[in-house]
């Protein structure tokens, strides 16, 4: 491994947007840490796909909502690569229900993975980045955190939380040459959105000026941009990748 080999950690990278982000960073020449929680087989497929193209990757299992597991993940990452240049906080889950039917454990599960996980991973990794005097953090939020969605109050709250967290962290870490930004996907074709009913999907397309759903690669392109030198003067921002669904 060359001394200039850059290293990215993508949480929740076994499928969906995380997977596309991991593959895209590999194309850019990064060594990729593919974090996953449940789907070891899928995570290994991502690693194999990167290695088949001559890239470097390892899969590391960790529940991002548990501090000990995040610390163990970081140790394994540093033992293997010795540095971390980019953190992509992507791991996320949904437990949809109308508030009246939303159980406390479904609220907690979404908050723990989608918001607390961002805090725990950012805290652990930022400590290393501060010493390096350099780093990039990109958080995956959602248009739902900006406009809300019936049946997703937990998800919307967590994703709105990520936007506020991004702004605060951007201010805290700016003096250390670490930028922190968020990407807000709209309707992207993944397992997460495949679960939505046909009728709802048809209605949603009416609200998208570009009249089509996005692909995970559309999001990955922006994440890679926010980790690159080209975005050096951008911090604390949320960039929408939503076909024009939400315009600030």
């Amino acid at each position: 491994m060359g001394v200039d080999q850059r290293v990215v950690l993508v949480t929740g990278a076994s499928r969906g947007i995380g997977r596309a982000v991991a593959l895209r960073f590999a194309e850019e020449g990064y060594a990729v840490v593919v974090n996953y929680m449940g789907n070891e087989e899928k995570a290994r497929e991502v690693v194999e796909q990167i290695e088949a193209k001559g890239g470097q990757a390892i899969a590391i299992k960790a529940d991002v909502s548990k501090q000990e597991e995040v610390e163990a993940l970081l140790q394994e990452l540093l033992n293997r690569f010795g540095r971390i240049d980019v953190l992509v906080n992507n791991a996320g889950i949904t437990r949809d229900n109308l508030l009246m039917r939303l159980k406390e454990n479904d609220w907690d599960a979404v908050m723990n993975t989608n918001l607390k996980g961002v805090y725990l991973c950012s805290k652990a990794i930022a400590k290393v980045m501060m010493k390096q005097r350099q780093g990039r953090i990109v958080n995956l939020t959602s248009v739902i955190g900006q406009i809300g969605n019936a049946g997703q109050s937990n998800y919307a709250a967590a994703k709105a939380g990520v936007i506020g967290f991004t702004k605060s962290l951007a201010r805290e870490l700016a003096s250390r040459n670490i930028t922190v930004n968020a990407v807000a996907p709209g309707f992207i074709v993944t397992d997460m959105t495949d679960k939505l009913p046909e009728e709802l999907r048809n209605n949603m397309i009416q609200a998208i000026p570009l009249s089509r759903f996005g692909q995970p690669e559309d999001v990955a392109n922006v994440v890679v941009f926010l980790a690159s030198e080209q975005s050096a003067y951008i911090t604390g921002q949320t960039i929408n990748v939503d076909g024009g669904m939400v315009m600030a």
């Binding site: 400590k127 010493k131 870490l173 003096s175 250390r176």
Partner: protein, 77 residues
Amino acid sequence: MSANIFEKVKAIVVEQLGVDEEDVNMETSFEDLNADSLDVVELVMALEEEFDIEIPDEDAEKIKTIGQAVEYIKENQ
């Protein structure tokens, strides 16, 4: 003993804050060295690592000078 601790603390402060060794003595405050709040957090983290101690926030807030840091480490090591 405390001379030894002082040398180690000085080395950490010089490295973390990028200041000259001559500017660091027992009476120097972190403020004198233009350390901002994040610098102080980093310093405390580095001291915890070097001396294998845990410095709670309420104690860290009271440490304003190099001498106070040396005293604290001496008492808690």
